[in-house]
Subunit: 104 residues, 2 copies
DNA sequence: TATAAATGAAACCTTTTGGTTTCATAATGG
DNA sequence: CCATTATGAAACCAAAAGGTTTCATTTATA
């Protein structure tokens, strides 16, 4: 299985899970309470997030708490940002072009 | 079908296509020349990228040129960056903790 | 200690993905 | 005008994804 961050955040449910636990660790049942699908389905999403390092699970008695490990999202930022200069330049060119049109 | 930017960039081949055309528009055959898989497969990837707005196709005679429309990647940046403060705070805390350890 | 709660994991199913081959169609270049 | 080039699109396929139900195991707790 491919288990990279890009694939992990491709699924909307997983993005919601990340959002849920971003500010407060929750145990697995609490996470799944927020969704319509079964606990087993959510469990699988959590497993995927764990496997790609976006989430860490910590045992606490019979519960297991999910903590976000969002540093891994840096990989995404890095990939996206490498193109920012290019697309900003293009937007600048468009702006310039429109300004020229207007000044005629 | 889901056709959002997150899903579009989940596939490594599609990320490579984006990279290929980021700085220079290429026609569909030229794009597919860079890959092992068939032209038909690449064509489908291009279609997906087009449908979610990351790519625009412009006819030029019998050829069709693919241009990157990377502004759409902003959606990804926005989503990721909403968490940056949190994870930076956590890293700061860790750093502080380590400094305290060292100073003892 | 017996029951309930929280989780792990297997078996199974349907839909989506990513790929293929094949054929049709529209411009181009001799 | 005809062969070639560039592309669109259909039919089909295997594997992966996302989901379900069911059952086992571990830990708390009345």
């Amino acid at each position: 299985m491919r288990r990279d961050v890009f694939q992990a955040i491709a699924d909307p449910t997983r993005r919601e899970i990340i959002n849920l636990i971003a500010y407060k660790a929750l145990n697995i049942n609490s996470v799944s309470d927020h969704f319509e699908v079964s606990r087993a389905a959510i469990y699988k999403h959590i497993k995927i997030l764990t496997e790609c390092g976006l989430l860490e699970v910590k045992q606490k008695g019979r519960e297991r708490y999910c903590e976000a490990r969002l540093e891994k999202l840096d990989e995404v930022t890095t990939w996206v940002e490498q193109y920012r200069k290019t697309w900003n330049d293009r937007l600048d060119n468009l702006e310039e072009y429109l300004n020229n049109l207007q000044n005629k």
